[in-house]
Amino acid sequence: MTASAPWRVADTGILAFAILILIYLVMPTLVIVPLSFSSETFLSFPPPGFSLRWYEAFAESLDYRMAILNSVMIGLPAALLATVFGTLAAIALVRGDIPGRRLLAALMIAPLILPQIILAIGLFPIMVRLGIIGSYPGILFGHAVVCMPLVFITVAASLRSYAPTYELAAMTLGANPWNTFRYVTFPMIRVGVLVGFIFAFTFSFDELILAIFLTSPETRTVPRLLWEHLSYQMTPVIAAATVVLLLITLSLLMLAAVAGRFGPRKAKEAVS
């Protein structure tokens, strides 16, 4: 009762925030979902009748099938690359004794903050010259770089949640560096790595700007296809596609939340 008194102020804040979230995240959904079930070709709100025709159209669309396949074929290897390098970078920076680790850590976050349009504008001529513009490797490596910060952040948090004594103990017990990583470090940060991987895949799956610049009609992803359709015409197929994209994203995030739940928690200190 009295214990949480100083955070009352903050509770008001979270209420205000929740309302903003509601307006900006939930309301769009409340608009798009009914639209996607519209019986009419025009995007009019509220929709005049209910039908599943636009979902049928979406499901039958070869373009969307291709796009989903592309999103997965780019997202999975990109997330995998991001996970491997992001994890290694986190271990080196959190546990290692590298000079200038603050600066390096800032560098790791940079791809998340730096405008992707700059990256896109710069990468475009290089890829054209290398002849890999529109190919899988081009967009794949691009996504790996922008996804890496997400893995770095989650894995670094996992590593910071426990003291390095465990690794020292493993070493005194006869584990060489590789075995220390395999049997001690990795199991301890496993959940962080998994959550990082899911975040990275989600991010790649949803990324638009690099996709616009670096993919071709053959390698285009779902967000890019959505974008192209938007420039061309607004039909309820877009709404249906958006709902599907949203559902995939939310499922992935839920997966990450569930994984995080079953992760190792800090031993809860007894009350007394």
């Binding site: 003291a163 004594t165 465990y166 020292l168 103990a169 493993a170 070493m171 005194t172 017990l173 006869g174 584990a175 060489n176 075995n179 220390t180 049997y183 001690v184 199991p187 301890m188 190792p264 031993a267």
Partner: protein, 379 residues
Amino acid sequence: MNAQLMAPQVPMQTPGTPARRGAVVDFRGVTKDYGALTVLQPTSLRIEAGEFFAIIGPSGSGKSTLLGITAGFVAPSGGSINVDGVDVVATPPYHRNFGMVFQNYALFPHMTVAENIAFPLRMRGCRKPEMATKVQRVLEMVRLSGFGDRKPAQLSGGQQQRVALARAAVYDPLLLLMDEPLGALDKNLREEMQEEIKRFQEALGATVIYVTHDQHEAAYMADRIAIMRGGTLEQIGSPRQLYEQPESIFVASFLGEASLLPVLGIAGSRGSEVSVRIGDGLVVEATAPQGRGSADVVCVRPEAVAISAQLPRMDNRFAAQVEDAVYTTGSIRYRVRLDGSDLLLTVRIPSAPDIVLLEKGQKVTVGWSRRDALLVAGS
């Protein structure tokens, strides 16, 4: 039960009793500095086979650095560490084959108790059946036979500490390093674990280097103690030597309690028997340790002082006045002021139900024998 520990079913490296000899550890001029900051001055120290050796000192005295260098976590800036005659400074920690117990146990939370204990055996390529037997044996030694399938988080602090001991000992290391292993435990559990660790070491026959900041723990457990201060070894000796023959004021006041009476002048001496002046008309009959020159204080331990109205045949007798009286568990502690001075003397006598505490301001006589008044040099 002890006999059973000595004759385990699985043969140890040297079968039968007495158990194997531990390693001899010989530090030669080991130093550590970080740039301009020297945290460990050149340190030489020989720890004998099977010895229980404690290192104590305040924080920042270099005791953990010395242990870290021994374990291989910290590279020394100079010197060598010979373990059974082989320099291990260049050996990585995972090839040193020492056991180590950490303050917070460092049990792997994702492994069961049995998996934790089997870990060092697995790293050594031990075969499954042999592994199971060894784990079982060591679990019995720490009286946790039924706990193999539990996760560390399901155990109490004391049980976790015992698993950590078992894990560090299951591969029969000749040297066990312990870094404040009981620091996280409650007082009473700590005292219980002290006995457990001593019993365990005897059964194992390993050399132990034990770092702690708790002087009572060190005095209780160790064969010899090194007291560190500011990166140097201040004094090494048995607990009794350190307590009864401190070589400096630092050691005298770090280990146990002591009244330190400043020496104003020498009134007379005959061999090791010295009379020193500590105030106007106050002369103490004291003992000078052999071969040492300066004498800055007279050190008197509180339990060496008798307090009463009459003190027959004491070398030193002074009239005094009680400053305060405190009852502590099992004993009574007085602070008295010697008449004609500002000198405070601490007195500790065993308590008993029929003893009535002296009151503040009461006139008393205190006395102690020459043998219990040691001249100690400053710093």
